[in-house]
């Protein structure tokens, strides 16, 4: 278990995950700063990400696509807001529709700090602008979501309705 804390704020549509790794600060920074490392963990296994542009600088852009088992592809990109190597990144993650229409998904704030020699904590805060954006991000973050492009909300709605 390396996830040490999880906080959820349904009012503000915010999720914060704190994790600790047996690695140096620089090694954890590399997860974001090196596109070949980034693409190893960003997408789910059956939908790996390929990073096509990696300008991790304020005002820069990181572009990627995810490819599924049937060759189906999904485009996504980050608008980079803040970068303070090797400790801090703020970015806005968006995805593009098939026709290229951008859909802002969330703002991600990453804070990295060394808590002991060879032990590094990374805190990731994800803020969603709307329930719809949260649902879209879910579809993209999971293989099931990408494969079926179904609404996870349907089941929740049925549950919520029947509970009343």
């Amino acid at each position: 278990m390396t996830v040490i804390a999880v906080q959820k704020d349904p009012q503000k549509l915010t999720l914060t995950v704190d994790a600790e790794f047996d690695a140096s600060l620089e090694r954890v920074w590399q997860l974001w700063a090196d596109p070949r490392h980034l693409e190893r963990w960003w997408g789910p296994p059956a939908y790996p990400a390929t990073v096509t542009k990696h300008d991790l600088a304020p005002g820069g852009r990181v572009e990627y696509y995810m490819t599924g088992p049937n060759g189906d592809q999904f485009q996504g990109y980050w608008d980079v807001v803040t970068v303070e190597p090797p400790r801090r990144i703020v970015l806005r993650d968006s995805c593009s529709d098939a026709d290229g229409t951008p859909n802002p998904e969330n703002t991600i704030r990453v804070d990295i700090e060394e808590v002991a020699r060879g032990r590094t904590r990374m805190s990731i805060e994800t803020i969603f602008p709307s329930i719809e954006a949260l649902e879209r991000a879910l579809a993209k973050g999971t293989e099931e979501g990408l494969r079926q492009a179904v609404s996870q909300i349907d089941a929740i709605l049925a549950e919520a309705t029947l509970q009343r």
Partner: protein, 118 residues
């Protein structure tokens, strides 16, 4: 625990249709009227109006007056939906962190870092 209400058949029937489920989802934010909702679907305004009426009878949505407009709003706790979605999104990050751990455990130098851009 509450005994199932007689409306349960109506709820299931209302949910059995894809367009109606989609209307309920859109109405969570409660920003659109029937006219705006209708613009999302390749069907007549009257057909969308009918779907909205079915949902209204099942108690899934209500029409509310906001200023001069009437918006369609889902009858449920928005926070409940948000909480469940955040629970699912937590799993996205847990899976990423698992992959990061595997990556960190690999021997340095085995990951291709030579080409900065493909």
């Amino acid at each position: 625990m509450r005994v199932a209400s007689p409306d349960i058949d109506r709820v299931f029937a209302a949910f059995a249709d894809h367009t109606r489920r989609d209307i309920v989802r859109r109405a969570i934010s409660g920003k659109e009227g029937v006219l705006e909702l209708a613009s999302h679907y390749p069907m007549s305004f009257a057909a969308v109006q009918k779907h909205v009426a079915v949902l209204e009878r099942a108690g899934l949505i209500t029409k509310q007056r906001v200023g001069r407009r009437k918006v369609v709003r889902t009858n449920m706790d928005r926070l409940f939906v948000a909480r469940r979605l955040l629970d699912q999104y937590e799993e996205v990050w847990r899976a990423r962190i698992d992959r990061i751990n595997e990556l960190i455990a690999e021997r340095p130098g085995t990951i291709g870092t030579k080409e900065p851009d493909r």
